[in-house]
């Protein structure tokens, strides 16, 4: 089953490229721990999912590239073409001469309707190349203009036209210390719209990834490219092939729906985050060895203490004593330190994966009172190592960890909204106060739901 990726705006296109490159490099990485036959099945599965093939034999990414400025798209296309390993389709992009100037309303109300038909045509052509379509990845920023505004518009269109296919939005959460003055407005508009039309929002926080680059990868001068590569690594470690079940050696047919079924069936809880372990520069990797027990112990603590990387984990955080009713069992201030999960999915790749013990993730104290660990926790495995990591683990979780950043954004946006700052830039393009209020109401509800787990 195949996934069609829609890369939107500068951010979406740059990340999209790194994702395809990471997927391709990983599936052609030399393998020590799995048989040749298994490796071939892995490659075939990855290829079917993310690439189609043209006559010259070079894999073509199943992607549609959209931006309102030509620069990034041209760079992206030529980088892929020059890699010589894979490329984008010749007629699968759309770019214009004028951007959205970081105005969500412009992307949503002007660019969206104006280019709706041509973009949907591009997507349809890409869909027709798939024997079977599982769904869409929509890669976009949350706070900008084109990616976020046009992305919200297109996601809605996809929901109308491909209602049975799955839509997962990869959204890039802006730095807390903003790049753009109206980023909080843009963010609440994006999130509230996607909450209505998307099936799952996989959130990547720039701040967290930046820290990973600095602390774990030891990069001195961090560029967007570095950040995007970490992000691509995280995505790849989730969506590369895994076995379809315990004891099975067949690869999962439709991982997108399996992931959603495991993590986001509830319509009010759609926000997902990814954590990976280990993450380090290639140089250090050569001198490191890992055990499953050690990796999983760290990963669990990262989850419950809400840390985004293995360095600087707060080991004091412990799950609340089980046996007490979950609701209102502690004053809020105390509870904030412990990150309660709705559901978790752990993905293990590499040597001796069958010996990994995941018991610690099945503690009912980690989860809400209304889901049993047997429902709330799932694990996918494959013996094939990911990239150059002999053993690696990824954790996709639907948890409280995004409540705080979301609350901050909503709070800041509300303050601006109360003084009607910059509102005219939005009303000018048909986004009224009413739309803002709807967005606030929806996100307040989301925050309340996540806080009362």
């Amino acid at each position: 089953m195949s996934i069609v990726t829609v890369q939107l705006g500068q951010c979406g296109n740059q990340i999209g490229f790194e994702v395809f490159d990471a997927l391709f490099s990983d599936s052609h990485c030399p393998q020590k721990f799995c048989s040749k036959r298994e490796n071939e099945a892995y490659q075939a599965s990855c290829k079917e999912r993310f690439f189609s093939e043209e006559e010259d034999g070079v894999p073509v990414a199943r992607a549609v590239l959209v931006d309102m400025e030509p620069k990034v798209i041209n760079q992206t296309l030529s980088k892929a073409a020059h890699s010589g390993r894979w490329k984008y389709g010749q007629h699968s992009h759309l770019c214009q001469k004028q951007g959205s100037g970081n105005n969500w309303a412009y992307g949503y109300s002007v660019h969206g309707p104006r280019h709706e038909e041509s973009i949907m045509n591009l997507i349809q052509k890409e869909v027709e190349k798939c024997d079977s379509l599982s769904g869409f990845f929509i890669v976009m920023s949350m706070a900008g203009g084109t990616g976020s505004g046009l992305g919200a518009f297109l996601t809605q269109n996809l929901q109308d036209q491909y209602s049975n296919s799955l839509k997962m939005n990869q959204i890039i959460w802006p730095y807390g210390t903003g790049e753009v003055i109206v980023q909080n407005y843009n963010s609440i508009l994006t999130l509230s719209h996607l909450y209505r039309s998307s099936d799952a929002l996989l959130v990547h926080e720039n701040d967290a990834v930046h820290k990973i680059c600095a602390k774990l990868m030891n990069i001195k001068q961090i560029s967007f490219r570095d950040i995007n590569q970490v992000l691509a690594h995280q995505l790849g470690s989730v969506f590369q092939p895994t076995y379809s079940g315990e004891g099975s050696f067949h690869y999962r047919r439709n991982p997108l729906v399996d992931l959603m079924e495991d993590l986001v069936p509830h319509p009010e809880f759609k926000m997902l985050g990814v954590r990976n372990i280990p993450q380090m520069s290639e140089n250090s990797l050569a001198y490191s060895t890992f055990t499953w027990a050690g990796l999983l112990k760290h990963l669990r603590q990262m989850l419950i203490s809400n840390a985004k990387m293995e360095e600087g984990i707060d080991w004091q955080v412990r799950p609340p004593l089980s046996g007490l009713p979950t609701l209102g069992k502690m004053p809020l201030s105390k509870e904030l330190h412990f990150n309660t999960s709705i559901a978790n999915l752990v993905i293990l790749r590499g040597k001796d994966v069958h010996s990994a013990d995941l018991g610690a993730f099945k503690d009912p104290a980690l989860y809400t009172s209304w889901l049993e660990p047997v429902t709330a926790f799932n694990v996918w495995k494959t013996q094939r190592a990911f990239s150059k990591y002999e053993k690696s683990a990824a954790l996709v979780s639907n948890s409280q960890s995004l409540v705080k950043p979301l609350d901050m954004i909503v709070g800041k946006a509300w303050n601006m909204f109360a003084s009607k700052a910059y509102l005219h830039q939005y009303t000018k393009f048909g986004i009224e106060e009413e739309d803002f209020l709807d967005g606030f109401a929806l996100l307040e509800q989301v925050i309340a739901s996540y806080s009362n787990l």
Binding site: N164, R196, V257, P265, P267, E268, T368, V446
Partner: protein
Amino acid sequence: MGRRRRRRVDPADAARALPEAIAVLTRTLPTGPSPETFRRAKFDRPEAAPALWRLLFCVLSPMPADGASPSLALEAQARSVKAALRFQGYPRRALAQLPDDGSQGGRELLLALAWLLARGPTLEQLLAQSRVRLGDEMPVCECESLASPGPAVPSVEADGCVDTRHLQWLMGKLRFRWRKLMASQQEQCALLGKIHSYTRGCHSDRSLGHLSVTETELLRDPEGGQQLLQRLERENVRLEAALEWRRRELVFWQWMDTVLGACPPEASQPTFLPEIPAQGAAELELVVRELQALQEELQAAVEPRRAAWEARVGGHGPEWSASRRALQEAVRQDLVALQWAWERGGGLTQPHEPHRLVRTEAGAPEGRGLQATEVIEVLRSREACLEVVLGQLQGQCRQELARLVGTLPGLIWIPPPGR
């Protein structure tokens, strides 16, 4: 037949005839215990019970015998057998009262098996179910899957209150599974279409024109041919056994008479009634009498009421009779619509069994089979009917919710986002 029955029977032959008949029967069935097991079951020996529970499970389970179902624990199988028999209206209470662990019940199970065999085309259905399919088949209707209860689902007893969020979670999961099913069906159709168009003109049978998946697989993997051959041979053996069984079954039924004779008779009871503790029986008697008296009283009261009503209605003038006529007209229209839907739905003259999928050239003369467009049309109208029903049910739920909300003043109802 008559001549054979009059022939003097060698007692040794007669002694052999029964085990042979049973052996033939078990060869026909998906998993066959030995004739010796049957003999032991007659005497209710516990060692015969597990094999017979398993046999009945295979006979009753709607899934093909070679599926994953037989790996179920014996206890689950026993529960499933009981549930399936109850669903089919099996009348003996003794069976339902057997312990769930599958350790007992040889004779009762034998009776149940005989009941199934005697009642209908059970054997034929089983043979049809496990038939080797060479063509790509598709069902043209869902009646079969709707008619069978499916495997028993372990019921979850909710202790205390249920969190709505849990229900919403389950509902969402169901939605995703539904979409997954749709995606895999679509994938299957796309791949079938590819095979059919790539192999056009390859089939020796001109009326088919192209190969099926099984046939294509045979070309790709000759090893599979051996396996297919074996499966065909196995099916042949079962079919031969079924024919043989028809010739020999009389002796089995005679023997079953003796099994039934060995059973303690059971008061004939058409349906299951809840068990009533002994001291409750007297009270029940009382209640029954009271109920009867009440019913008589009611009937006596109803008659004059109705007469009075009719008299009043008759005196209501033209307005009343006009609205009455309008009502009658509306009912008549509804009835016509229903009848029309029914006739269209059931209008297919073809039987409901699965059909082989064959791709024909556009403009080719219509064959004897069903046209896909016809089937699609029937399915569409069925879908439309079901959607109407769904809409009605949802409306009812909404009304009920609104009523419930009305009973709680100060409560606001906010629908979840995205629905």
